[in-house]
Structure formats: C-alpha cells, structure tokens
Point group: C2
C-alpha cells in the first residue's frame, strides 16, 4: 500500500517535473495542467506537490531553469563539433534538431512558454533566448566572420537567427518525431533560413535595399 520511500533527496521533485514534461509531451498545454493531474502522472499523492513547489507557476519557473541547462549543453556540443567554418550553419542546425528530438518535451515546453500564461515563465524563456543570441554573437566575433558588422547589427542578426530557429521548433514538434522525411525537410528549411539571414548580414551596410 504505497509505503514511504524517500530514497534520494529531491527525487519526488524530479518526478513531478518529469511528469509535467511528460504531459506536455503528450500534447497537453502546460497552462492547462493541474496539480492533481501532475501528481497523478508522477505517481505521488497530491499533497506532496506542496513540499517542492508553491504552485504550477513555480514548477514552470524551475523547468525554465533546467531548460537553461539543456540549452547550454547544446551550445557546448555545437562549439565542440562544428569544425569547418563553411558548414557552420548546416552542422549547427543539425545539432539543434538532434537535441530538440532527444529533449522533445523540454523544447515543447519552451515553445509553449513563449506565449504561455505565466508572465514569469515567458520572461524566463525570453531571457534564455537572449543569452543564447549573445553567445552566438561572441562566437561569430571570435571566428572573425562578422567583422564588418557593428555591435548593434550583429545583435539584430543573432536575434533573428535565434528566433528563426525557435520558430522551427513549432514545425518540428508538430510532426511525429520519427517521421524522418519531414524532420529532414524542416532541417533543410531551417538551414536555408539561416543562410538567407547570413547572406543578408554579409551584405548589410546599415541601410535597406528595399
């Protein structure tokens, strides 16, 4: 009859966060999840929830923090694995797609949170994206690929890149995940987006052509 088992500290906490992500992965929207539903999915009694979170928004915020870790891991892998500068975009997008696939639930949560109910979660995800964009800017500077761009223009460029990739998330999460053909299409399309943006950046002179 479900004895107590407190094996490791914070195990239930992790189970709850996992449960929320699992439900999101099943197509539910985070904003529509309830405490009881999450605890049920986690196989835990409802009252346990309050030992770790004040409410669902709180859980959301802690998920954002973990999302930050996932994104940082992804950045690290991209930095380590992108060897040739001429395939930078292609390989980066591939790494992104691969991470989005293996952390599907996390990225689904991210896509939802951008227009979610909790202002705090929204701001948190937005802030992660800003960080991501600024790191991208640093990398491009270091590789001396954008010497002709002002800081402000580089900022715009990286922001646009990150947004485009983030938007591709909604494409990616819309297809079934093991539909290799569709995933490949999305990968190609996203790659082209970024190439288009970087061609624009390469020819940018501070004024518009149109």
């Amino acid at each position: 009859m479900a004895e107590k088992q407190r094996r490791k500290p914070g195990e239930t906490r992790a189970k709850l966060m996992d449960a929320a992500l699992t439900l999101v992965g099943k197509g539910r929207h985070f904003a529509s999840l309830g405490i009881r539903e999450v605890t049920r999915q986690a196989g835990v009694v409802p009252t346990s929830f309050y030992r770790h979170f004040r409410n669902m928004d709180d859980l959301g915020l802690q998920l954002v923090d973990e999302l930050g870790l996932v994104l940082r891991r992804m950045m690290r892998e991209a930095r380590g694995n992108v060897l040739q500068a001429d395939k930078l975009i292609e390989e980066s997008v591939a790494i992104f797609i691969s991470h989005a696939q293996s952390n599907r639930n996390f990225f689904m949560f991210m896509a939802q949170g951008l227009a979610g109910e909790s202002r705090a979660v929204q701001e948190g995800i937005r802030s992660e994206m800003r960080f991501f964009a600024s790191e991208l800017g640093n990398d491009l500077r270091r590789l001396r690929l954008v010497d002709h761009l002002s800081d402000a223009d580089l900022d715009i460029t990286c922001d646009l890149v990150v947004r485009s990739v983030a938007f591709s998330l909604t494409d990616l999460l819309g297809v079934s995940g093991d539909d290799d053909y569709q995933v490949e299409q999305i990968r190609k399309r996203t790659t082209r987006f970024l190439q288009l943006i970087f061609v624009g950046a390469a020819h940018w002179d501070g004024k518009s052509g149109i």
Copy 2:
C-alpha cells in the same frame, strides 16, 4: 430575472467568442479556459454554449476562421496604403503593428495557438500564415522586386518574413500596449529584421556565404 432575448441570430455565439478572446486578452491561456468560465464572462448560461459549439476546441477553430478575416483585412489595407516601394517594409510593419494593437486579443490568440493544445487550431493558424506568405510572394512578384529569385527561394524568403513578423507578436503582446516607447522599439526591430532578410534575398544566389 434574465429573460430570453434572442434579438439577432448568432448574437450569443459572437458573445461567447468575444468572451473567450477577452479572457485571452486578460492574460489567460486559451488552453486553460473552461466552458463555464467563458459562458460566465459572456453573461450567458453554461448550457447555451452547446447550442453553438461542440467543445472549446470547436470554439477555437471558429476563432481561427475569424482570425483569417482579420488578417485579410490587414493585407488589403497594406496593399492599399503602401505607396512608395522604397518604404514598403517600413510601412507594412507599421500597418501590422497598428492592426496587432487594435485587434490585440485576436493576435494574442494567434500567438498562443501556434503552440497550443489543439492540433487543429495549430494547423489552422499555420495554414493562415502560409496563405499570408503566398500572398506576399505574389505581391513581390507583381512589383517586380524579386525577379532574380526562383519560386522556391521566394517561398523561403516570404516564409521567413512571415515567421519573423509573427514572432514579433510575442514581443508586442508582452508589453503593455500603450507603452509607446516599447512598441516603437519593437516596430524598429521588426523592420530591421525584414530589411536584413530582403538584403539577403537580393544577394541570394542559391548558395550560402557562410
């Protein structure tokens, strides 16, 4: 004691859709709305809901249809008001911002729906965006601004434009709406995004520079 009043056919239907949008405008997420909540906001008895919609998803789908009308109105205005080709981007973005402001709730619903709970609503909004992109492509062709682009490349470009603008929605809806300074910042930034994309398109040769 709340007599029957069926003045016009479909009045309650409109009240219910308005109520849902109002709640969304107040910061609620569509996925978290309930039937009773919506009817309460509409000042209507819960059972009336079923006279017009099968469930909340159904209401969402019908909202998407109306959203289509809003978008078409916006396109028409853009086509009529963009006079000088050299200010095409700037003026189009301005019109977009203005429409997004005056139909705030609708666009909020759109931003939410992109990563929403109902797959059908998601697909509906996505389809509206595709239509928008294709119309944009037609216009650019007609104005002979993209003669050097293949159909496929034009398609990519317009898609990227529409996505960037749509993403700006989440910026726009995050600020208070009468915060003119912030709105102006978003307008400028979105304009720059599009300019960057079009510079890229102007110099696009089917291969990437990076």
